[in-house]
């Protein structure tokens, strides 16, 4: 009998699995290589190394305004999603209303709905109501696609919370709000952090909804990269992509250390 934790995976499977891990990292490595390459088309070994593309990107007003726009939308939609999503998750967890399960699946609907359909529906809706090209319209579109992640993570976190602790605090004289703030809130903090992180990255990443709603002078970073690539491969795209890779890697490691992110996926 094999002890738990001992490697019971055969050599062949291990090799195959590690090859697949390499496959998953290949495009990341290629983008980083391209960002430092002097030639616009990649060769192995690289022809020469340069930091010029980073300088070009970081002094390009189009990229800078796209970066600002992306972070504004990501921070704004995360903040709103966190507020309305956590409140909804708490209400659903306490089963204060009948039909909690039906409400939950309704709140999750934007996750399984094709994003492109949400995009065109909002495009048409905003054209009719005059919200097209407006910042609040764009922000609300991002709230729609980010809020379900907060609901899901907070519900997952609440599942491990014993309601009796909150009731005990009430019995000992805490008000409802005090009991929530002092007992429940610290217990669900990992779910809030994970939900906020998913919301932030989902918003920062989004193209299929955003591309239908941006105006000519306001665009987000991924949409700008998307449209630049359609016009041809350019190393400055690789440079801005490398910056995104670094930010993503940093956020991921930080989140793993703080809340053990992989438990919420």
């Amino acid at each position: 009998m094999s002890a738990a934790g001992e490697n019971s995976v055969g050599f062949g499977v291990t090799t195959a699995a590690l090859a697949i891990i390499v496959f998953l990292q290949i495009p990341v490595v290629v983008v980083v290589l391209a960002a430092f390459s002097t030639t616009s088309y990649l060769t192995i070994p690289p022809q020469g190394l340069t930091l010029a593309w980073f300088g070009k990107v970081l002094s390009d007003p189009n990229y800078l305004s796209a970066i600002r726009m992306s972070f504004f939308l990501a921070l704004g939609s995360t903040a709103i999603s966190l507020g309305i999503g956590a409140a909804a998750a708490y209400a659903l967890f306490r089963k204060t209303l009948p039909g909690s399960e039906a409400i939950t699946s309704l709140l999750m609907a934007p996750l399984i709905f094709p994003a492109v359909v949400i995009g065109v529906a909002l495009l048409q809706f905003y054209s009719m109501t005059g919200l097209r090209g407006s910042l609040p319209g764009l922000l609300m579109a991002h709230v729609v696609i980010t809020a379900p992640y907060v609901v899901r993570s907070v519900l997952a976190s609440l599942a491990g919370v014993n309601l009796a602790t909150e009731e005990a605090a009430r019995v000992l004289g805490a008000s409802g709000i005090e009991a929530f703030r002092l007992i429940t809130l610290p217990l669900i903090r990992p779910g809030l952090v994970a939900g906020a992180l998913f919301a932030f990255i989902t918003s920062l990443d989004n193209v299929p909804v955003t591309i239908f709603l941006i105006s000519a002078n306001q665009t987000t970073l991924p949409v700008l990269i998307f449209t630049s690539v359609e016009m041809g491969v350019d190393p400055s795209v690789a440079a801005i992509s490398t910056l995104l890779i670094i930010v993503t890697g940093f956020v991921l490691l930080l989140a793993e250390r703080r809340v053990g992110l992989h438990r919420f996926i």
Partner: protein
């Protein structure tokens, strides 16, 4: 206990947000899908037609795009399953200290911007991309292989993008298979392969199904990767919707296609969840 009135107050903000900016917009798109569109002239007011839906089934070009989308969905799902299982197995059953690093290496590309990942594949697969340059330099081929703007490019890109979702689902499923049952089978004389085929694989079936549904839905709805690796000509349903709205401005056709795609996605979920329920009933 908190009262229903408080529950309503807590749920109202998200209900208003999703109602006003998701349900209502989708609902207002429904009448558009029954309107008549004439190129150059736009919508014909007061005329209602089923034409936009019947054309999706009768027009050869639309049919081709739909079959291509569904075929791609099945192919990518199968590829993810094939590549995902060994990796998930190593994460779930391999050395304990490998677990977190391996999971992080799976999550990292998943968290990374979709556009960035697709761009990476363009740099690899283009006519003057890394793979073709390498093969030509090595003297293995004379002219670049066509790896993009066709099925090959879309298969590689979409499999790469949805593989992590499959792996995470399978890790959970394999982790739920009791090790005792596996050891029991091994003690009773099963070979390692036999234990896998007769115990681990069937017991992880719910996870296989859940992962497959997820990957299938995500693949048939994908817009960014098919657009970047398929180019403007090799179309799937999502990129066709994009073109109907942004280029030809034929909103009625686009919204009819949008509802068809949505019904396909929801239909797959509904059908497979009823199959799962029947299985659970038998077991």
């Amino acid at each position: 206990m908190i009262r229903p009135r408080h529950g309503l107050m807590l749920l109202a903000p998200i209900a208003l947000a999703l109602g006003g900016f998701f349900l209502l917009p989708v609902a207002t798109m429904l009448p558009t899908s029954f309107q008549e569109y004439t190129p150059g002239a736009g919508l014909t007011p007061g005329v209602w037609t089923f034409e936009n839906y019947t054309r999706i089934v009768t027009d050869g070009y639309y049919r081709e795009v739909i079959w291509r989308t569904l075929g791609l969905g099945f192919a990518v799902t199968f590829a993810c399953l094939l590549l995902g299982y060994p990796l998930a197995y190593l994460i779930a059953r391999g050395p304990e200290r490998w677990r977190t690093p391996l999971i992080l290496l799976v999550i990292f590309p998943m968290m990374l911007n979709l556009v960035v990942r697709s761009f990476g594949w363009i740099a690899l697969l283009a006519n003057r991309g890394l793979i073709n340059n390498l093969l030509i330099d090595l003297g293995l081929i004379a002219a670049p292989l066509k790896l993009m703007f066709n099925l090959t490019g879309l298969m590689i890109g979409l499999t790469h993008i949805y593989l992590p979702f499959m792996v995470l689902m399978l890790v959970a499923a394999i982790g739920n298979v009791p090790r005792d049952v596996e050891s029991a089978a091994a003690t009773l004389g099963s070979t390692r392969l036999h234990v896998f085929v007769s115990v681990t694989l069937p017991l992880s079936a719910p996870g296989i199904l859940a992962g497959s549904i997820l990957v299938f839905i995500l693949t048939i709805s994908a817009l960014v990767t098919p657009r970047m690796l398929g180019g403007p000509t090799y179309k799937v349903m999502a990129t066709l919707i994009y073109d109907e709205y942004m280029q030809t401005l034929d909103w009625p056709s686009g919204s009819a296609l949008s509802f068809s795609l949505t019904f396909l996605a929801i239909g797959v979920i509904w059908f497979s969840s009823s199959v799962i329920k029947r299985w659970a009933g038998i077991a």
